[in-house]
Amino acid sequence: MLLTRILKNDLGGQLLLIALLITTVTVALLNLAVPEGHALHISTYTVTLLGKYLTYGLLAIAVDLVWGYLGILSLGHGAFFALGGYAMGMYLMRQIGDRGVYGNPDLPDFMVFLNWQELPWFWLGFDMFWFAAIMIMLVPGLLAFVFGWLAFRSRVTGVYLSIITQALTYALMLAFFRNEMGFGGNNGLTDFKDILGFDLQADSTRVGLFVASALALALGYLSCRYVMNSRLGRVAVAIRDAEDRTRFIGYRVEHVKLWIFTFSAILAGIAGALYVPQVGIINPGEFSPLNSIELVVWVAVGGRATLFGAVIGAIAVNYGKTYFTAAIPELWLFALGALFILVTVLLPRGVVGLLQQLKRKQT
């Protein structure tokens, strides 16, 4: 079977998917089937929080794919995440219909507020879910493709590439901050009502989104693992370790980079699309360069080039962040910086590397 073939020799992946399955089923049951007030009940708040972590896990896999395996340190993956989120947000805005503050059935509230008379052309079609679903993948994918085509063809690598990915996400942030762009300016898109006809405030919808995130993470993991198990995956690692040498045995390095980079951006877009209905808002802050740097820290903490390590890192760091920002918010950035330095110096292969080392010592 395909599944067993993909997960052969991948103990970490097997454990991750089993843990994911158990958590998803348990959490869903404890939220829906156990009455509120019961000791075992899991609140909808927690379900949504976990769902958010899972979308971060998917995003981290996308980053690990290009950084861990291909050696491209992208500091702009937050942009693809945010674009997927905006595409989903536009669909959710259109679902509001005439239930907005101004009650205008044709225009979202912020456009009425700006005195716009009609819907801009790039909002057309977003009232249909299938169209939005395509855009969620197409927009980040296309941006990554064009960006990658230009950057890889001119052989921009290393630090320079990282800097222009930062510039990319920064430029997008500035653009999305502007009201005339037509994406709600600095308020972004919010006040969503329902998705596919289901009330976004309902517990069952929240659980549904949580399960969808778990499913997306599992499928994303499996497809990345499939790619990395293939010969193309070995070519990717070859490019990471000796790019020139790979060229001289006849591989078109630029093309390999371009396709994997684009695929990774699409995964990030899907993660963003699942994130937005759970947190209920998308605004230009998601494009902030700092967000993209944080992603890299997740992957570094978990352990590069393992895929499951990225998920562990994303969940662990975000759990810490949730805790920290509630307890001592002003320290979070320092904690993040310290964490990054600690990991780089003490755990160059992340938590997963540490576990592997401990296991080896035992045997």
Binding site: V227, S230, R231, L232, R234, V235, V237, A238, D241, A242, D244, R245, T246, R247, F248, I249, G250, Y251, R252, V253, H255, V256, W259
Partner: protein
Amino acid sequence: MKQLDQVRDTFNRDQVWRFLQPRPKPNELDLSHGAILYLESISVSFDGFKAIDDLNLYIDAGELRCIIGPNGAGKTTMMDIITGKTRPDTGSAYFGQRIDLLQMTEPEIAQLGIGRKFQKPTVFEHHSVFENLELAMDSDKRVWPTLFAKLSDEQRSRIEEVMEIIGLQKQSSQLSGSLSHGQKQWLEIGMLLMQNPLLLLVDEPVAGMTHQEMDRTAELLTSLAGRHSVVVVEHDMDFVRSIARKVTVLHQGSVLAEGSMDEVQNDPRVIEVYLGE
């Protein structure tokens, strides 16, 4: 500058526009005049320093050619030009009669059938010996076919055959990063064999090898000549003497002398710049 040349080229009225000319395929390699590689009046300078200076060199199909020359003579740079890594300032480089190497990228040149072993052995350190050979294997190297590629029995036995030739069967699943220097050299030669190229460029193959290993390398390279054309750059004179039929001496970026080992060794200019040191 390149753009300017392209514009000029477009106004050249005695030939069909270059982009309309059919791209020759490797199996159409035209060897009708006996030579597989033509380098003509090639010059290259780095920041004003002429690394290659009006170099002319012809390699015959099936020939085994040794190239010697003191450090910095431009031997590696010459290989860089043939494989598309460095673009010369002037001159022309043809593979067979028709294929203009200067118009092609590194992977295209590799696909045409020019394989290269580097002076500093570079293998993929995080891949096993087997995987290194698999990656080098002559196959469809575009993205999608590579994603869905499966190793056929034939290909697997070819890899095993090459592992036997290079004496690394036992290390098949060992990471190549943990091999010794000499073993890495052999692995690179193995990767070259897997590509099954028409022309092999071998830069200092025996550096770091024991005498026994050297003998085996000599045997291997001579056995390749005939079916393949082989260009070997080497400093070790004993090694060169053991395989050489025709020797070219490079000095300051151009050919100083060419002939059999004895002729070359007795050439007073060669003695002066090189052997006499």
